[in-house]
Assembly symmetry: C2
Homo-oligomer: 442 residues x 2
C-alpha cells in the first residue's frame, strides 16, 4: 500500500523506460546533428543569479521564474533562480568566456529549462530545449541565418516526420514596409497602443481568424482602407524565392529598411536553395514572432498536414545577444526546439517513431548458477559487438525468467549445461517466437 502520493510534480513529463529511450533517441539525434554542423557543446548551470535572469526577462517570463530559497550554506550568496531559457545564460557565457571562444561562435545547447507557468495539457514547467545559436563579434554575415535554418531542418529531418515547411520572414522587411506606407515606430493606434505592434499582433493571428475579422481589426486601429488592402496584400505573400521576389518588388516600397530586409530574405532563400531546401524553406510574411527581440530573419517550422500542431521549432536573428551584460556588440541568429512539447504532440498524433523502443537487444537466461561463467563470457562477446545485453540472474523458475526476458529484450538466449559446454547458442525472437542459431561475426 502506498503511504504517500508518488506521482511526479505537475507540469513535468515522466516516462516509463521504453518511452524514455525513444525520447532520448530524439534528444540525442538532434544534438548529434547540431554537433555535426560544427555547433559546439555549451552547458551552463541550471541555477543562475536572479540578477542575470531579470536583466533580460520581462512581463510574463519574470513572473514564471522559479526562485530558490537560500539554504544555511548559501545564505551569503546572491539571490538565485532556475534558468527559463538557454539564450540568457548563453549571453552571460559569451561575455564571460569571450577570450576563449572563436567567433562567429557556434553554440549548441540541449538541456532543461524551467517556467512556473499555468499548467495545461502539452505545456510543461520543466522541459528540454534544443538550441543552436551563431554569435558574431560586432558583425555576423546573413549567410549564418541560412546555416542555422539548414541545421535546424537537418535535425528535425531525423524523425521521419511528415512534410515539413520552414516559413521565413524578415523583421526589417515588415517594419520597412509599414514605414513605406506611413506607419512607423511613433504611430499610434486609435486606442493609443503602438500601431506597429498592433498590426504585428493582427498578422500573427491572421491564420486563426477569418479574412473579414482581420480586415475589421486593421480598420479598427484607424488604418486607411487603402493601407488595409496593402497590408493584407503584403501579409499574404508566401512561396519559394522565385514566387515571392516579383510580388515583393511589385509592392514598390521605397524604403531603405525594406530594401535591406528584402535583400536579406532573398539571400537566405537563395542559400537554402543551394542546399536543396528551396521547397522546404519558403518565404511567408505571416511569420512575425516576438517583437521586442528579433530584428531580421524570423522563422517557424510547421507540418502542413498537421496544422493543429502549430510551430515545432522557431528562431531568428537578433541585433545584440548581450546588451544587458556588456557594451560590446554580439549579433546572433539562433533557433530552438521545445522537445517535450514536440514529443507530446507527435505522440498524440501517432507520429512518433517507436521502432527501437525496446532498448535491450539480448536477454541471456542461465538455467542454473552453473551456467553463470558461460553467460558472462557470452554477454561480453555480444557487448563487444555493440549489443545491449541483460543477464537474467534471478533464481526463479525458467518460465518466470522468460517472462521477464520477453518484457525487456528483443531476443532471448537460454543457456543450459549443453549450451555452456558446446558454445552453441540458440536465439529466440520474442516477437515471432522463432529460434535460430546465434552467429557472431568474427
Amino acid at each position: 500500500m502506498k503511504k504517500i502520493n508518488t506521482s511526479p510534480v505537475s507540469g513535468a513529463q515522466e516516462f516509463t523506460p521504453d518511452i524514455q529511450s525513444v525520447f532520448n533517441r530524439y534528444r540525442n539525434e538532434i544534438e548529434h546533428v547540431f554537433h555535426s554542423h560544427g555547433f559546439l557543446p555549451v552547458e551552463t548551470p541550471i541555477i543562475e543569479r536572479t540578477e542575470i535572469l531579470l536583466a533580460k526577462a520581462g512581463g510574463d517570463t519574470e513572473k514564471q521564474i522559479y526562485k530558490l530559497v537560500k539554504t544555511s550554506e548559501t545564505s551569503n550568496d546572491p539571490d538565485q533562480a532556475l534558468r527559463f531559457d538557454h539564450t540568457v545564460p548563453l549571453a552571460r557565457y559569451v561575455v564571460e568566456h569571450q577570450q576563449s571562444l572563436a567567433f562567429p561562435f557556434r553554440a549548441a545547447q540541449v538541456g532543461i529549462n524551467f517556467r512556473g507557468e499555468h499548467a495545461q495539457r502539452g505545456r510543461f514547467r520543466e522541459f528540454y530545449q534544443c538550441d543552436i545559436d551563431v554569435i558574431g563579434r560586432n558583425t555576423l554575415p546573413i549567410a549564418y541565418d541560412a546555416e542555422v535554418i539548414a541545421t535546424f531542418y537537418d535535425a528535425l529531418k531525423c524523425f521521419d516526420l511528415p512534410r515539413m515547411v520552414i516559413r521565413i520572414s524578415n523583421r526589417k522587411l515588415f517594419s520597412g514596409f509599414l514605414e513605406g506606407i506611413g506607419i512607423d515606430e511613433s504611430s499610434e493606434a486609435t486606442d493609443g497602443r503602438s500601431l506597429v505592434s498592433a498590426v504585428a499582433g493582427i498578422i500573427d493571428h491572421a491564420e486563426k481568424v477569418s479574412l473579414e475579422k482581420t480586415l475589421a481589426d486593421l480598420k479598427e486601429l484607424g488604418i486607411s482602407d487603402d493601407n488595409v488592402v496593402k497590408i493584407t496584400t503584403f501579409m499574404n505573400i508566401h512561396g519559394t524565392r522565385s514566387e515571392v521576389e516579383p510580388q515583393l518588388r511589385a509592392l514598390n516600397v521605397n524604403n531603405e529598411k525594406f530594401a535591406t530586409g528584402l535583400d536579406e530574405l532573398l539571400t537566405v532563400l537563395r542559400l537554402l536553395e543551394q542546399q536543396g531546401l528551396g521547397e522546404v524553406a519558403q518565404a511567408d510574411l505571416l511569420i512575425i514572432r516576438g517583437l521586442d527581440y528579433y530584428t531580421g530573419t524570423v522563422f517557424e517550422t510547421f507540418l502542413p498536414d498537421y496544422r493543429k500542431i502549430g510551430s515545432i521549432g522557431s528562431g531568428g536573428r537578433y541585433e545584440n545577444l548581450a546588451n544587458n551584460y556588456t557594451d560590446e556588440s554580439f549579433p546572433g541568429v539562433g533557433g530552438s526546439i521545445g522537445l517535450n512539447r514536440l514529443f507530446f504532440v507527435l505522440r498524440e498524433n501517432n507520429l512518433l517513431n517507436l521502432a527501437t523502443s525496446q532498448p535491450v537487444d539480448y536477454a541471456i537466461i542461465p538455467i542454473s548458477q552453473n551456467e553463470y561463467p558461460a553467460c558472462f563470457e557470452l554477454a561480453n562477446k555480444l557487448r563487444a559487438h555493440a549489443k545491449i545485453v541483460d543477464l537474467v540472474l534471478t533464481d526463479k523458475r525458467l518460465g518466470d525468467k522468460m517472462t521477464y526476458a520477453a518484457k525487456v529484450a528483443k531476443f532471448g538466449i537460454v543457456v543450459g549445461e549443453d549450451e555452456a559446454k558446446t558454445g552453441q547458442y540458440k536465439v529466440k525472437d520474442f516477437a515471432t517466437g522463432e529460434q535460430t542459431p546465434l552467429v557472431l561475426p568474427e
Copy 2:
C-alpha cells in the same frame, strides 16, 4: 565593458566548449556502458515535491535541499524543491510505475542533482551523478551485487585510468562480527553513543590516522583489550577471495549474520572472478559507508596510485528502496559516480584524456561567396561520412578565416574557384601544417 558580473554561480562547473566536449564524452560513455549492460534509461523531474524529498533525507542533506519559491501560477501546488540525489526520485518512480516495470528492474540515471552545501574546491552544488540500480520485488539475488560492480567497473574502464581497485565489504559481516564479540545494536560506548556506529566511524577513518590512534580510539569507547585486537585483526583483512576466505574463517565467529555476510561476500567475489575481475575487485573490511542505509554489500572504487583522490565511485545493497513511500518491499543494489568531482580530480592530476577535445573535424573555408554551393555539397558529403563540419561563412579576409578554422577544427579545406570546379580538395592538418588531397570513401 561589462555592465554586470557574468561568472556562473558559485559551486557550479562551467566549461569552455573544448573541455565541455571531453566532459560530455565521459558522461556519454558511462551512460553507454550502463545501457549496454541492460540498465534502462530513467529520467525523473529535477523538481520534486518537498514531501517526497524529506521522507528520505535527514541531517545535513535536509539542510542542503534547495526549496523553490512559489510563482503566482504554482501557488496552489504543494511545496517543491530540487532533487539532491537519484535514489529518492527512483524510489518514487518505482512505486509509481511498478505495474509497467519488469523486475528485477535495472535503472540507469545520468542527470543533475543539487545540494546547497558549503562551497569548496572540488565540491559542487550542481553536479552530474551517474547511477545504476537493480531493484527487486520482495527478493533480489546476491548475483546482482556482482552485476552492479562489474558494470560499474566497465563504465570507469573507458577512461584509460591508472590501475583501479574496487574494495568490497559486507555490512552483515561487519555487524555479525561485532555481535560475535558481544557488541550489538543495544551496546553503548562510554559516552552513551551507539557502540556499533562509533566503531564503524573509527574503522571508516582508520586509513587516515595511525594504528596507535585507532587503537586508542577503540579503547576510549570502553572496548576490552581483547576485543580491540579482534577488531583490528578484522578490519585489516583485505585481498582476493582466496586470500581473505581463510582469514575470515579463522576468526571463528559463531554468528548467523556473520555467516550470511561471509557467504554473500565470497559469492560476490567469486562471480566477479568469473568475469576476470578477481584482481580488480577485492575484499576490504575497512570499507564501511553510510550506516543508516546499506545493509549488505558495500563497495568503493579507488586508484591505488593516486590515494589522495579518494573514492571515485561507490555503492551497495539496501534492504528496501521505498519503505518511506509504500508497504511493499523493494530490495536493491546500486552504485553512483559523482561525475563533476571525478572530472575535477582527474583534470587536476593530469589523468584526463583530452585526446579528442577538438570537437570539429573539418572547417571548410570558401574563398568567396561564389564557392558556397560547392562548400555546401562538400559539407554534406563529409557529414554523410560521420564527420563534424563547420562552414566558415564570414566575409573576412582569408587569413582571418584560417585563424578561426585552426582554432575550432582539426583540418581545414580551402575552396576557391578551381577546387569548386574540379571537385579536387586539399586538406590542411592544422597540427602539422601538412596538406594532403581529400580522399572520400565511396
